[in-house]
Symmetry: D2
Subunit: 342 residues, 4 copies
Amino acid sequence: MDVSVIGATGYTGVELVRLLNQHNRINLNILTSNSFVGEKIADIYPNLKGEVKHLCEELDIDKISQSSDIVFTALPHGVSMKYVPELLNKGVKVIDLSGDYRYDDVDTYEKWYREHNSPELVDGSSYGLVELFRDDLKGANLIANPGCYPTVSLLSLAPVVKENLIKEDSIIIDAKSGATGAGRKLSLGTHFCEVNNNFKAYKVFNHRHQSEIAEKAGLLGDTKVDLTFTPHLLPVNRGILATIYVDLKQEISQAELKELYQKHYQDDRFVRILAGDNLPELKNVVGSNFCDIAVKVEGKRAIIVGVIDNLIKGSAGQAIQNMNLLAGFDETEGLTDVGLYL
Amino acid sequence: MDVSVIGATGYTGVELVRLLNQHNRINLNILTSNSFVGEKIADIYPNLKGEVKHLCEELDIDKISQSSDIVFTALPHGVSMKYVPELLNKGVKVIDLSGDYRYDDVDTYEKWYREHNSPELVDGSSYGLVELFRDDLKGANLIANPGCYPTVSLLSLAPVVKENLIKEDSIIIDAKSGATGAGRKLSLGTHFCEVNNNFKAYKVFNHRHQSEIAEKAGLLGDTKVDLTFTPHLLPVNRGILATIYVDLKQEISQAELKELYQKHYQDDRFVRILAGDNLPELKNVVGSNFCDIAVKVEGKRAIIVGVIDNLIKGSAGQAIQNMNLLAGFDETEGLTDVGLYL
Amino acid sequence: MDVSVIGATGYTGVELVRLLNQHNRINLNILTSNSFVGEKIADIYPNLKGEVKHLCEELDIDKISQSSDIVFTALPHGVSMKYVPELLNKGVKVIDLSGDYRYDDVDTYEKWYREHNSPELVDGSSYGLVELFRDDLKGANLIANPGCYPTVSLLSLAPVVKENLIKEDSIIIDAKSGATGAGRKLSLGTHFCEVNNNFKAYKVFNHRHQSEIAEKAGLLGDTKVDLTFTPHLLPVNRGILATIYVDLKQEISQAELKELYQKHYQDDRFVRILAGDNLPELKNVVGSNFCDIAVKVEGKRAIIVGVIDNLIKGSAGQAIQNMNLLAGFDETEGLTDVGLYL
Amino acid sequence: MDVSVIGATGYTGVELVRLLNQHNRINLNILTSNSFVGEKIADIYPNLKGEVKHLCEELDIDKISQSSDIVFTALPHGVSMKYVPELLNKGVKVIDLSGDYRYDDVDTYEKWYREHNSPELVDGSSYGLVELFRDDLKGANLIANPGCYPTVSLLSLAPVVKENLIKEDSIIIDAKSGATGAGRKLSLGTHFCEVNNNFKAYKVFNHRHQSEIAEKAGLLGDTKVDLTFTPHLLPVNRGILATIYVDLKQEISQAELKELYQKHYQDDRFVRILAGDNLPELKNVVGSNFCDIAVKVEGKRAIIVGVIDNLIKGSAGQAIQNMNLLAGFDETEGLTDVGLYL
């Protein structure tokens, strides 16, 4: 099984490289980069020194298609769609980590992102949130890997939405992310001295992922879901924690709700419903593909807290989970490291 | 004007000492400490070396009363009330930084804290959230300095609660605090390696400050306020940011709401309503007595974001603001340093 | 191959558990703990939830000896030696992560630590710094796993000491460590608010590891080595960087010195000599068993900079590298993950 | 006394603004900025909101000269010298925070920086390390404010160099700085995710400040000083700690050496020689103009540890200390706040 990565030198790309390097059942073939053609990736990311010998290559669609069974496109939104149609035409399977093929509704995409150049492919793509849409993924040719905030939000919401337990317009997602979510591109907002010791909300009522979460949550239940989503920037590198507030249609005990969650995810190794009074913490999942969830109930309000490593379950790890599905490997292959904790 | 600090070697106590040392109109007289009697406070907190010469003394109520016009009690909940009644009896004015005299309703206090030993004083105490209760404070003998979470929450909520603009059961306060809020006492939860790189919610549906916020918000408006309050622990030393979600009774534009806030706080130097799309950030207030607030509206949901330095506006700075009122000084005396930003 | 861990719930112990859980060729058998007998280790370290099912047991030397081929003792100094002699008597091989069996010279141990209860075993122990003492380790019964500071210091110094290139009394090691080096035990010095944003030197001229480095460096060369060692505390969890200053006996070019280092470590996968002007950084090794080293020369002064993850190459990872040697596995088995970088 | 700041929107410039805003004896007049002409400085640095009303102006030498008694130039190296000569011609006193006028030896400047356009002024400038060169400063027209690393290094070295106690070629300065030292300019090396959790040495044997320290240390003693200087980047915003190793010509006890330091700085409020076994820590000086120093001796080696806030004593605070001297104010005016500690 030959796999390649287009856009290997961004934070998401190199996380794919790091994880694929630990994967025992694939051959990591071509790495492309726009900025570092001809350089060893281990010179750009010296953690890889001695272990990953690849040079960064210029993107050559013919070459990469001929020499890859699966290609990951770890490109900015709007750039992926320049290459994905051709890759699919050449018969290669694509796992796209951008937002370009995540939406069922092209209008929503175009409202939040930009004009789409291949809306006909949107229908053919599968949304790669494995635990929730596994059946759609196995034979897919194009998997749209979910956004980081949507991953943790949807995994946290799915059981109550599917069971129709909550008022659809009551969902509030207060999410907090580490700075790797903003990538390697320089900006004052990710300058060390501006993020360190700091904390802030950003894009209040105005973040793209609100629309992705709403569309997919709508697919899980019967009705259109309306929600408020507020992202915040944490002074850490990795991890997202989402504190989600919902109003229950009817009272349900905390124990019952927890049991519902446990049952829903009982076959999903990467989703862990916490027992007792335990609450999720970044440090339990950072470095791993796990999503930890706790539920709390008081009266008719429930609070669901979910946490992931945004670069793994929220991005590269989930992409590899999708690759495992496409390749017929065990879904957890190469992804079973637990969080670093410290 | 002689002032003294009982409990000067906790994080709140030493912040009082640091700020009082910069105050030009008082004489810092006695510092007491339980753990460090006879030691120079500058040996325990070497930032004070050369500038604050005081020894830590054992608490002697007679001595401190005779030599102080105002006494700050920076003691744990339940300990303050052992000393406050006697201090008042001796004719000294007291600013108490614990929770012991914050509640109007002793039952609520006793539910969340412990049995009260001087419930008769609860009535006589004034809640020292200056911008909201200034008129009650000027002649007070006992001021209960507000909790850190309540300070930022109530300042952020007051205009909409007073104007009766929101559904009283719709308030959700998602608050995030730095670790100094937990004080100097050792615990695994504040061990460096456990907090660094980490983030978590704690005491979901179960934090004492929920009841303090609810009681005081109720005083601002016409009706009982019900609210959900979720605290989180940030990997920073100082600062609290609260993201507050409310449902509006009627639609009101963002501009109108902002104007309402600006008008409400137009005479309060320490409360700054942000203009344009600006959002509060910890780094703009850390090191200062300011509270920055922004309001956002979409449809019938409003989001109010407030931020303070928990050790200053949320504790020692506000206590000095109260002292300034009691002493007849300019309310801002000694408190006008802006945030460090970096 | 059955392995067990005595003292599994300290930071070093749980790092052993995390890494052994990823190791494909051993069975992780018994975990003991003093403080958490009967509890699931995954309840204490929730990163392990679902993946490590072990309960923490009380230490039973008979039971652990019968059911283990190799036992790791991850205990405080002075505690290890209470159990190691008996374990050896029962025929089990021991890898001890404390300082108790690291010294050849019992007097030095006793000067820096405490009275030794089994000095006769000191001779029989092997110092487990694999790259430097590999030949002594393969048949060992008792391996003393090196200290974290000594690991990075000795790997950085070995080539110049062995080749007799430096003045023996010129070595200055200025080392900076993350806070996990101080373990899970609570103290004001590792309280979050005291370490965050802070940096300090500690135990100047007075840290135990000075004597361990000096003794072992002396074994590498011909003569007694005298050195100055200054540790500092970094506001990070993991990682040690040592900046080492030495005076060269004779001028040697930077290129020649680098070549000497490359040759010395050419067969050691975990030691990487950096090329060109590259300098070591914590983030390239944190999460991995690698040690990165750079050498710089100006005139007759050389600076050698080395970096490791103190919990992996400086402790648990190196212990597993030793286990691999004892078991006849490939030395790198289970240890080839690269650093997380972010 | 009217003062103005040229280059007010860099990290050094805005720190000047913050501190000058707290200074009771000057009028802060004009702020210039290259990038933000016409904007309120409080919109760029919202910590200043409500307190500093100034707009950023384009630089107009005539205007600024006419309306200022003293001008601070907080500009990059090479840019300052474009404006300083003209400012001096117009009769204004200048405190320059760049490296352009720090050197006595123009050749050294040109070797490490660039061609100098006004070498004739180099002679007329005074090196503004107040505690060491106070007498040269009082009547100066042009004060070159020292570099941050040189400030802490020279204050730490001065007593032993002046007294001729150390071997001149034995000095090793291992210095560690927070990221504000690199300023507000974006670069991958100061991107949040690259600095957080990380630590590294940089510019080994090759940092400009080595030459500044060497030249000025040479002025303190009798002979040319040779030294090794290694800077490192700490994952904090503020603070520099320097660990300095020197070889003593003759043995001297730790007590004697400490007494020498205490005597040397007995009249300098901002330099604190630590007592007993205390060692400097960033948190004791961050937010203040203090420099804390400890000395340790073993045999003929001494270790001197010094610490400052790089933006205050290492830059803006020291510049204001120089302003106070020029203006005939008390040298400590506006600079007596102690460190924040937390």
